[in-house]
């Protein structure tokens, strides 16, 4: 049976649409979009007073499977994603074993098909074992389904290796995603280096450790004409560099996380390990620069860097806790409330950063847009719904979220993947 979504405010940044339309879906595709479509013979969902957006894509997620199923699995991560309004996620390769070969990529895709909740796009490692030395078989990996390459968490330090990866990626035409961190500068650091790290006596991670690598990547990308995507940008200096690169039409794109937009280093006064993340929560100045960059269109996408860790792993001394914050179930509401309702960006731009742009960056042709023939992945939002972030209600396996107790306005209320309603859960 066909699904008809009626009376929704359809916003499609790809075509610039923002009007009340009906959408007809059949066999996983959008087959018609019109102001009035006859409801008979169709299953009808009335989306009056709701916003219908192209399915949201989180291009930076750690699903932890294979290897760390106590933190998250492909299944629980998928449930968390659709609950948070996402129809697709790209998952990072720092699993165990590392996703540096077709076997692991195929395993992830197989698991994802088995649960059939959401589109999962594996990101494969740039180098074997994330060791930063030998390139993986990139073309083979793309054939198996890899959508991008990244050594997230263990970024490539050797600039020659990065150069080769960028050159080679042109054959596959998928982006290289870099977690920018000079590991020599950041060694043993646990929070942003600055006044507050000195105040709290914690070892700092200087902004320079990120900026140096952002600059390196930009220079390499310009020189070798390759696509580079800067993951979770966090400092004012990085923004300045990316702004400069974009002015020069260098093929650089970037993403930002909700936590870097909303939280700052001073909060670590509590030594709450749920605030320990890499890149670290930066200063107020950095946060302001990120918000300005969003307004200016310098940042292309939102991404959560959903990084689940168990309660016990986080319930330790700050130095001993692993880095990471989960974000799939909170990102959309957080940014609806703090960016859209606070008039920092338009709803149109919000949707493009969650959907249209990530689809473009990852080269997902039939996603990130609402048009006849596009995949029927839709995220339906209620802009006025009041929610309370309560980690006890999370479907993710982990609870390492610093936003517990926040009251927010606006939430995803229905997620449709391939024409099927996957959230609310039955």
């Amino acid at each position: 049976m066909r699904l008809l979504i009626k009376n929704g405010r359809v916003i499609d940044p790809y075509s610039g649409t923002d009007e009340t339309l009906d959408i007809l879906i059949d066999k996983g595709k959008i087959i018609d979009i019109k102001p009035k479509i006859d409801g008979k013979d169709n299953k009808v969902f009335d989306a009056s007073r709701l916003v219908v957006a192209p399915g949201f894509i989180d291009m930076h997620v750690h699903l932890r499977e294979p290897g760390q199923e106590d933190k998250e699995t492909i299944k629980t991560g998928s449930l968390a994603a659709v609950k948070g309004g996402f129809t697709s996620v790209a998952c990072m390769p720092n699993t165990n074993p590392v996703n540096d070969n077709c076997g692991v990529t195929e395993y992830i895709l197989g698991e994802s098909k088995k649960h059939a909740i959401i589109n999962i796009f594996p990101i494969a490692a740039i180098t074997k074992g994330l060791k930063g030395e030998e390139l993986t078989d990139m073309a083979d990996l793309v054939d198996s389904g890899a959508c991008a390459f990244s050594d997230d968490g263990q970024p490539v330090q050797n600039s020659q290796v990065m150069r080769r990866a960028l050159e080679y990626s042109k054959i596959t035409n998928v982006p290289i995603i870099d977690h920018c961190e000079d590991k020599n500068l950041s060694r043993d650091g646990v929070m942003h280096e600055g006044y507050y790290s000195y105040l709290f006596g914690l070892k700092g991670i200087p902004a320079a450790s990120e900026e140096i690598m952002v600059f390196r990547d930009i220079i390499l990308s310009e020189k070798y004409q390759s696509k580079i995507h800067i993951a979770h940008v966090s400092t004012k200096g990085s923004i300045d560099l990316i702004r400069w690169a974009k002015d020069k039409k260098i093929k650089v794109t970037t993403e930002v996380t909700p936590h870097h937009l909303l939280l700052t280093d001073n909060l670590i006064e509590s030594y709450d390990t749920n605030l320990k993340v890499n890149p670290p929560l930066r200063s107020e100045t950095d946060k302001k620069a990120l918000l300005q960059a969003i307004k200016d269109g310098i940042i292309d996408a939102f991404a959560t860097d959903h990084a689940p860790h168990t309660f016990d792993e986080k319930e330790v001394e700050f130095n001993n806790a692993p880095f990471g914050i989960i974000g799939l179930e909170t990102a959309v509401s957080l940014l609806l409330d703090k960016l859209v309702h606070k008039n920092i960006i338009s709803l149109q731009r919000f949707i493009s950063m969650f959907s249209t742009n990530p689809a473009k960056i990852l080269g997902l042709k039939n996603k990130g847009k609402i048009c006849v023939g596009a995949d029927a992945d839709l995220t339906i939002l209620n802009l006025q719904k009041d929610i309370l972030v309560d980690t006890n209600t999370f479907v993710s396996k982990s609870r390492n979220c610093p936003f517990n107790g926040w009251k927010l306005k606006g939430a995803p209320v229905m997620t449709i993947v391939g024409g099927k309603k996957v959230y609310p859960f039955k």
């Binding site: 006596g201 700050f318 130095n319």
Partner: protein, 312 residues
């Protein structure tokens, strides 16, 4: 009188009046330490644990004596004696100790914030005896108490702190405390040990000891923690001593009645010349003596009276 803290985690949480209360109380305890019977029954029946994850003789014994002079029962617990070496988490270690009905836990830990973390799940009073490069509140209190004895007031005193400021919890706690009390604090050390952000704590920073020491009332030398240095923070001990060591010649540039302090243990001939360390200007042993009285005051103020709900 009101000292309404449940824990002593750092100097930052203390008000000027809290600090004066601690000093006034310590004053009374000095007298007890001078008695023939150096013991009062005040904390009889209280159980205190010295939980030291880092080696320490001075601070640990000072707390131990302080507790004993107040008639509390105190046991020592270290990395070697705990199950931490068997992989037990800090939380489990502390919960196991607390199950034995402890009233206060004195914590020394190499990680900044460990005492704060413990205070989030613990019933006992937590006293920070040094956490990583963060704070060492009782050391700062005994330092300031010693300065008060010698100089009577803090207002406009020039206190020069010399050494590895960045990694020093003693420096941090002293900066917070002395600035609160109105002293003028100048930090001196090699740039790698002295980020400019320290100015935001209300201190001056200077890389030149000869210049900074002029007109100083108090010179506080920090131990160069040879064991903790990252490579290349400074080229060599020899060079460090030449630029930042306290010698007689340098000391003459300070005020005539200037005093020298050091939290110990000292590296003779590195940060301070042996003669100066033993001179009358040196408060090093006085600091140790005052340490017991100040720690008695802390234990008394935290453990005396009914358990307060107010935490900090």
């Amino acid at each position: 009188m009101s000292f309404k803290h449940k824990h002593l985690l750092g100097i930052q949480a203390l008000s000027v009046s809290d600090i004066l209360t601690i000093f006034e109380t310590a004053e009374s305890f000095l007298e007890i330490s001078a008695r023939e019977v150096k013991k009062v029954p005040t904390l009889r029946g209280k159980t205190i644990v010295n939980l030291f994850f880092e080696l320490s003789t001075r601070t640990r014994s000072s707390f131990e004596l302080a507790a004993k002079r107040l008639s509390a029962d105190i046991i020592n617990f270290g990395k070697q004696t705990s199950s931490v070496s068997k992989g037990e988490s800090l939380k489990d270690t502390v919960l196991n100790l607390e199950a034995m009905n402890t009233d206060a836990i004195i914590v020394r830990h190499s990680d900044a914030g460990a005492p704060h973390f413990i205070s989030t799940f613990c019933r006992s009073h937590i006293i920070n005896a040094g956490d990583g490069a963060h704070e060492h509140p009782t050391q700062a209190l005994l330092d300031a108490f010693t300065i008060k004895q010698e100089k009577a007031k803090f207002k406009n005193l020039k206190v020069v702190i010399v050494g590895d400021i960045l990694h020093s919890r003693v420096a941090r706690s002293n900066i917070f405390l002395l600035s609160k009390m109105g002293a003028k604090v100048v930090c001196v050390g090699p740039p790698a040990f002295l980020p400019i952000e320290f100015q935001q704590f209300g201190t001056q920073i200077d890389y030149n000891l000869d210049r900074a020491i002029e007109g100083a009332d108090v010179i506080m030398m920090l131990r160069i923690q040879l064991e903790r240095q990252q490579k290349n923070s400074f080229p060599s001990i020899r060079e460090y001593r030449n630029i930042y060591g306290l010698t007689e010649e340098r000391f003459r540039k300070a005020k005539k009645d200037a005093i020298i302090m050091h939290p110990g243990p000292i590296n003779r001939g590195v940060e301070i010349s042996s003669d100066l360390a033993d001179s009358l200007k040196s408060m090093i042993l006085k600091q140790v003596e005052n340490g017991v009285a100040v720690r008695m005051a802390i234990l008394y103020l935290l453990l005396g009276g009914k358990d307060r709900e107010t935490s900090d």
